[in-house]
Symmetry: C2
Subunit: 128 residues, 2 copies
């Protein structure tokens, strides 16, 4: 098989621009192969992009996403580095839990907003 994707195939699949994928490469998040100058994206690259976009959706910065990715490719060898990373992971986890709470609360609030809209619509409907 040895399937690969072109850059535009992936931009279409994920709804991002070519600029975005090249930017991610510049930032060292992905490293597609080349045939001449043209990028060849392998399934592994594709999965990586999915991860990057997931990180992006929850508000991670490029640097943070890079840190997470790096653990897999190139796990740090020094104890100090490992401990720093674990501290960061712990911090991120707290942050994500906070975010999850925020989302729950905001979802509840959106329900209120919707209800307020419906009430208002009913008022208008009755009045006319």
């Amino acid at each position: 098989m040895d399937k690969f994707y072109t850059i535009t195939e992936l931009t279409r699949e994920f709804g991002v621009s070519t600029r975005t994928l090249r930017f991610y490469e510049d930032e060292g998040l992905i490293n597609p192969e080349r045939r001449g100058r043209t990028r060849l994206f392998r399934p592994a690259d594709r999965r990586l992009i999915q991860e990057i976009l997931r990180g992006r959706r929850i508000g991670f910065t490029i640097a943070e996403i890079r840190d997470i990715i790096r653990v897999y490719k190139d796990p740090p060898g020094e104890v100090g580095q490992l401990e720093m990373l674990m501290a960061k992971v712990s911090e991120k986890r707290d942050e994500l839990r906070q975010k999850r709470r925020d989302i729950e609360e905001t979802l509840a609030e959106l329900d209120n907003v919707e209800e307020a809209c419906l009430t208002r619509l009913a008022e208008i409907g009755v009045g006319t």
Copy 2:
């Protein structure tokens, strides 16, 4: 009672700068009273700031936060406006649910990262 807060009390409580709160005022998110030129923040303003920061944490833009806030203050009177708002609410809800999924997945991944770190640490520890 008629308690109020100064701007710095709130910056300390919420860990933001005075410039940030003034920025939110410029953007029409809050409207603290004035005694002379000095802002007086009432409990209602304080709650509003909590909401704004919650919105910020989950990645809403200022404009989106403003839209949500406006519904309470000044619910739209036209049917068209109401329907537009409800469509937005629905969209936001989908977005938040996606984000919640992303967070769950990333939390799971952070567990993996941590485990990888621990394994690596154990290896190093044994080796030396």
